[in-house]
C-alpha cells in the first residue's frame, strides 16, 4: 500500500524536477556576475572552477618538487635566492631538513588530493556527466556548488598551513602517527598537522557531496534511450570513481578524527610506549596501535590511487576511440574490468604495509589479491591497443597524450608486479624503485589522461581550440622528460638507494648517483617549465584561441557534441535528444561515425 503511493509521489517529483530544468533551457535570462562565475550552479562553470583551482595547485605542487629536486641534484651548492624567498627555512641558501620534509609532504598531499582527485574528478565528472548522459545539469546543482566551495575552503586551509611559523605538515602525505600525533616530535607535527587534518576533513566533505551527485546523476538523469550499456566509458569510469570515493573517504575521516583526539585530548588510539628524545620524556600513553592508523589510512589510500587513475582511464578510452575512428574494443570487458578494479581496490590496502609488522600469512593473502589486479589492468591495456590496431589514427595532441598514457600505464604497471610481491618488497620498500613506480603509474599517467581530456574537451568548454604547436611540444617534452626522470630512479632503487633522504653524499654506496640525481633534477625543471607553457596555452586560448566553428570538431558520436558550440545553462536549447545507439558507432556501414542520437535505420548492420 504505502509502496505504490510513494511510487506515485516519485514520478511527480521527477516530472517537476525536469520541468524546472526545462525552463532553464528555454529562456535565457541574464545572470549576475556573482551567480554566473562565483556561486554558479551550472555544472560547466563548476568544472572550470575545479580545473583552474586544480591548475594553481598543480603549479604549487610542481614547484615544491622543483625545490626538493634542486636540493637532491645539488646538495653541496647554496642558492642565496632561496633564503631571500623562504627565510629561515633555507638559511644560507640551503634547504633545511624540516623544510625538505615539508616540501615532500605537501607535494604528495597537493598532487594526490587537490590535483589528481579534486582537480581531475571535479573537472571531468562535472563537465562530462550531464553532457554525455543527456541531462540539463547535475541532480543537485546546489550541492554541486557546495562541493566546489568545500574544495575551495579545504584549499585555503591547506594553503594557509604553508605560512604558519612551525611550517606545514612534514611527516609524509600518509601522516603516520606517532610522528604526526606528537607536537614535540617535530616542527611539522605542531600546527601544520592540525591544519592538514582540518583541510582534509573539508576535502572529504567536498568529495562526498560531489560523489553523491555524480552517482545519482548517472543513475537517475540519463536521457531517454541512454541505457547503462550505451554510456560512454568516461561515464562508467566516473561512476566507479565516485563509488570508491563515497565508500573510502569516510574511513580516512574516522582515522583522522581519532588522530585529532590523540593530539589534543590525551587519548591513546595510536600511541603506546613512547619516549621522545627532544624532550627526554616518556609518555604515559599505552594500549594504542600505530598500525591501526595505517590500516585506516590505506583503506582510503589504496582506493585513492584508483580514484585517481579510473577517470584518466575513462578519458583515454574515449579519446583513443574517437581519434582511431574505430569503436572501442571490448566495451563490456572495459566496463567489467573497471568494476573488477573497483572491487579489488578495497581488498589490497595492506600491500602498503608488508613490512610494518603485518602477519606474513596475511601478507601472502594480500599479495594474491594485489596480483589479481593485473588481470583487469591487462584487459584494459590490450583493449586500448586493439582499439588502436588498424585504426585510422589522427595524432591530435589529445590522442598523443592518450597513447602516452597507455605507454606509461604499462611501464608503471609492470613494476607494480614487482612491488606487489611481499618477498621482493622486503628489498624494494622505501627505495627509489617505489618512487619511480607510483609516479609513473598513477602520477604521470593520470596527468596524461587529464591532459588528453583537456585537449579533447577544451573546444567544448571554451568554444576555442588549444594551440596545437604548443600542445605537441608539451606532449613530447613531458613524455620524454617523464621517462628520463623516473626510469633512472628504478635503477637507483634496485641499487638500494632509500627514499626520503635529502643528501646522499655521505654514503659511499649512493654517492656515485650524484651525477644521475643532477640529471634527473635538470630534466624535472625542464618538464616543469613546459607545464607552465601548457598553463599559458590554456589561458591564452580561452581568450585568443582559434574559434570552434564546427559543432562536432572531432567527429565524435557522444552527446556533448550535439549541444550548441557554447551551450548555456541547461545544455540543449530545445528538448534533450533521445539516444538510439551506443557511444562508439565509428567506421560503420561506410560512415565515419554515427551520433548516438541518430535512430537506427532498418538496413544497418549489427555491431
Amino acid at each position: 500500500m504505502s509502496n505504490d503511493v510513494s511510487l506515485h509521489g516519485h514520478s511527480e517529483v521527477a516530472a517537476s524536477h525536469n520541468a524546472h530544468h526545462e525552463e532553464h533551457g528555454v529562456h535565457h535570462h541574464k545572470e549576475a556576475f556573482i551567480t554566473k562565475y562565483v556561486f554558479s550552479q551550472d555544472h560547466k562553470m563548476i568544472c572550470k572552477q575545479f580545473i583552474i583551482t586544480g591548475m594553481i595547485w598543480a603549479i604549487l605542487g610542481g614547484l615544491m618538487s622543483v625545490l626538493f629536486r634542486l636540493q637532491l641534484g645539488y646538495p653541496d651548492t647554496s642558492f642565496p635566492i632561496l633564503e631571500d624567498i623562504f627565510g629561515k627555512w633555507a638559511q644560507g641558501g640551503k634547504i633545511k631538513p624540516e623544510f625538505y620534509y615539508a616540501l615532500v609532504t605537501m607535494h604528495g598531499t597537493v598532487l594526490v588530493f587537490f590535483v589528481l582527485t579534486g582537480g581531475l574528478s571535479g573537472t571531468f565528472a562535472n563537465f562530462l556527466i550531464p553532457l554525455q548522459v543527456g541531462a540539463r545539469d547535475m541532480a543537485s546543482p546546489f550541492l554541486n556548488m557546495l562541493s566546489y566551495w568545500f574544495f575551495f575552503m579545504a584549499s585555503v586551509v591547506i594553503l594557509s598551513s604553508l605560512f604558519v611559523q612551525t611550517g606545514p605538515a612534514s611527516g609524509g602525505w600518509t601522516v603516520y602517527p606517532p610522528l604526526s600525533a606528537l607536537g614535540d616530535a617535530s616542527q611539522g607535527s605542531k600546527a601544520g598537522i592540525d591544519l592538514w587534518i582540518t583541510g582534509m576533513a573539508l576535502f572529504v566533505v567536498s568529495s562526498l557531496l560531489g560523489g553523491l551527485n555524480y552517482i545519482t546523476t548517472i543513475l537517475n538523469m540519463r536521457t531517454k534511450g541512454m541505457s547503462m550499456t550505451r554510456l560512454p566509458l568516461t561515464i562508467w569510469a566516473i561512476l566507479f570513481t565516485a563509488i570508491l570515493g563515497v565508500l573510502s573517504f569516510p574511513v580516512l575521516l574516522s582515522g583522522l578524527i581519532l588522530l585529532l583526539f590523540d593530539r589534543h585530548a590525551g587519548t591513546s588510539f595510536y600511541l603506546s610506549d613512547i619516549f621522545i628524545s627532544s624532550t627526554q620524556k616518556a609518555l604515559p600513553n599505552e594500549g594504542g596501535s600505530a598500525i591501526l592508523f595505517q590500516h585506516l589510512f590505506w583503506f582510503l589510500g589504496h582506493p585513492e590511487v584508483y580514484i585517481i587513475i579510473l577517470p584518466a582511464m575513462g578519458l583515454v578510452s574515449e579519446v583513443l576511440s574517437v581519434n582511431s575512428r574505430k569503436p572501442v574494443f571490448g566495451y563490456m570487458a572495459m566496463v567489467g574490468s573497471l568494476f573488477a578494479i573497483t572491487i579489488l581496490a578495497f581488498l589490497v590496502w595492506a600491500h602498503h604495509m608488508f613490512i610494518t609488522g603485518l602477519n606474513p600469512f596475511l601478507g601472502s593473502v594480500f599479495v594474491l589479491l594485489t596480483l589479481l589486479i593485473a588481470v583487469p589492468s591487462a584487459i584494459k591495456v590490450f583493449n586500448w591497443l586493439t582499439t588502436l590496431w588498424k585504426g585510422n589514427i589522427r595524432f591530435t595532441p589529445a590522442m598523443l597524450f592518450a597513447i602516452g598514457f597507455v605507454s606509461l600505464f604499462i611501464s608503471g604497471g609492470l613494476t607494480g608486479i614487482f612491488l606487489g610481491n611481499s618477498t621482493l618488497d622486503i628489498a624494494l620498500h622505501d627505495t627509489y624503485f617505489v618512487v619511480a613506480h607510483f609516479h609513473i603509474v598513477m602520477g604521470v599517467s593520470a596527468f596524461f589522461g587529464m591532459f588528453a581530456g583537456v585537449y579533447h574537451w577544451f573546444p567544448k568548454m571554451y568554444g576555442r581550440y588549444l594551440n596545437n604547436t604548443m600542445g605537441y611540444i608539451h606532449f613530447w617534452v613531458t613524455l620524454i622528460g617523464a621517462y628520463l626522470i623516473f626510469w633512472p630512479m628504478h635503477y637507483e632503487g634496485l641499487a638500494g638507494m632509500p627514499r626520503r633522504y635529502m643528501d646522499y653524499s655521505g654514503w659511499v654506496s649512493f654517492r656515485q648517483f650524484g651525477d644521475l640525481n643532477r640529471f634527473i633534477s635538470t630534466v624535472a625543471m625542464v618538464v616543469f617549465a613546459v607545464q607552465l607553457m601548457f598553463v599559458f596555452n590554456f589561458f591564452y586560448s580561452i581568450f585568443k584561441g582559434r574559434r570552434v566553428t564546427n559543432q562536432n570538431p572531432w567527429g565524435a558520436a557522444t552527446m556533448e557534441w550535439t549541444t550548441p558550440i557554447r551551450p548555456g545553462h541547461g545544455n540543449w536549447p530545445g528538448e534533450i535528444p533521445e539516444v538510439h545507439r551506443w557511444a562508439y558507432d565509428y567506421a560503420k556501414d561506410g560512415r565515419e561515425f554515427i551520433p548516438q542520437t541518430e535512430p537506427v535505420s532498418g538496413n544497418e548492420s549489427k555491431h
Binding site: 509521489g9 516519485h10 545519482t216 541512454m226 574511513v251 574516522s254 578524527i257 583526539f261 583503506f299
Partner: protein, 225 residues
C-alpha cells in the same frame, strides 16, 4: 495495487529513474552507506584495540547508575536500556510521521514529528546525564578510573573509545534533531502541501532510522559485549 508495473517496463533504458526513486532519496541512501563506513571504521578500530588488550573493564560494573537513585542499581544497564528504548520509540513515531506524510495529513505529520523531536531530545539529555555522571566518576578522554574485569589497571582506551564513538553518534542524533525541527517548521508553513508530497519527511526518516540502527551497534559493542 493501484499502479501496476507492466512486466515489459525497461527501467534502465534512460528517461526515468531505474528504481523510480527521486534523486534526493537515492543520494540519502548513498550518504548513509558512506556514513556506515565512518561508523564501521570507528567500531572496527575499537574492536582491534580491545582485542589486542589483555583485559577490559566490565560494562555491567561500569554502567550501574540511574538518575535519582543513590549508589548503584541492583541491575546493570538500566539507564542505557531506557535510552535505547526512547530512541527506538522515536523511530516508531518517525514511521508514523512518514505514514501520515503518505496520506498528505499535515496535522498528523506535525504531531508525529514533534514526538520524534521530543524523543531525540530526551535521548540527548540522557546521554548528557550519563556523560556528566561518568565525568564525575573521573572518566574522560585520556582518563579511565575503571579497573579491568580481572582487577588489573586498565588502559585509557575504554573511555577514549566510549566518549569518541558515543559522542560521534550523539552528534548524529543532534544533527537529526535539527533536521527534524526544520522539517517540522516546513510542514507547519505548508511547504510540503504546496509541493504536493512529503518526500522530505521520508528522507529525514531514512536518516533518523539509520542513526537509530547505528545506536544498536554502538550499544551492543560498548554495553553488552
Amino acid at each position: 495495487m493501484s499502479q501496476a508495473i507492466t512486466a515489459g517496463q525497461k527501467w534502465w533504458s534512460g528517461g526515468k529513474s531505474p528504481y523510480n526513486v527521486e534523486y534526493g532519496k537515492l543520494m540519502m541512501w548513498f550518504f548513509l552507506m558512506s556514513d556506515a563506513f565512518t561508523f564501521g571504521a570507528f567500531l572496527i578500530s575499537y574492536g582491534t584495540i580491545r582485542f589486542s588488550s589483555n583485559s577490559w573493564p566490565n560494562p555491567n560494573e561500569v554502567f550501574r547508575s540511574f538518575p535519582g537513585v543513590k549508589g548503584e542499581m541492583p541491575i546493570p544497564l538500566a539507564f542505557v536500556s531506557l535510552m535505547t528504548f526512547i530512541l527506538i520509540m522515536s523511530s516508531v513515531t518517525m514511521v508514523m510521521a512518514v505514514a501520515a506524510g503518505h496520506n498528505n495529513d499535515r496535522k498528523g505529520v506535525m504531531k508525529w514529528m514533534a514526538w520524534t523531536i521530543l524523543g531525540g531530545l530526551a535521548f540527548l539529555s540522557c546521554q548528557a546525564w550519563e556523560w556528566t555522571h561518568l565525568h564525575s566518576e573521573g572518566a574522560w578522554w585520556g582518563a579511565n578510573p575503571f579497573l579491568n574485569i580481572d582487577g588489573t589497571q586498565s588502559s585509557t582506551n575504554f573511555t577514549n573509545f566510549f566518549f569518541t564513538i558515543t559522542g560521534f553518534h550523539g552528534f548524529h542524533v543532534f544533527s537529526g534533531v535539527i533536521i527534524n525541527i526544520i522539517m517540522l517548521i516546513m510542514t507547519w508553513k505548508g511547504s510540503f502541501d504546496r509541493k504536493g508530497h512529503y518526500l522530505m519527511i521520508e528522507k529525514a526518516g531514512l536518516y533518523w532510522h539509520f542513526v537509530d540502527l547505528v545506536w544498536v551497534f554502538v550499544f551492543t559493542c560498548f554495553y553488552l559485549l
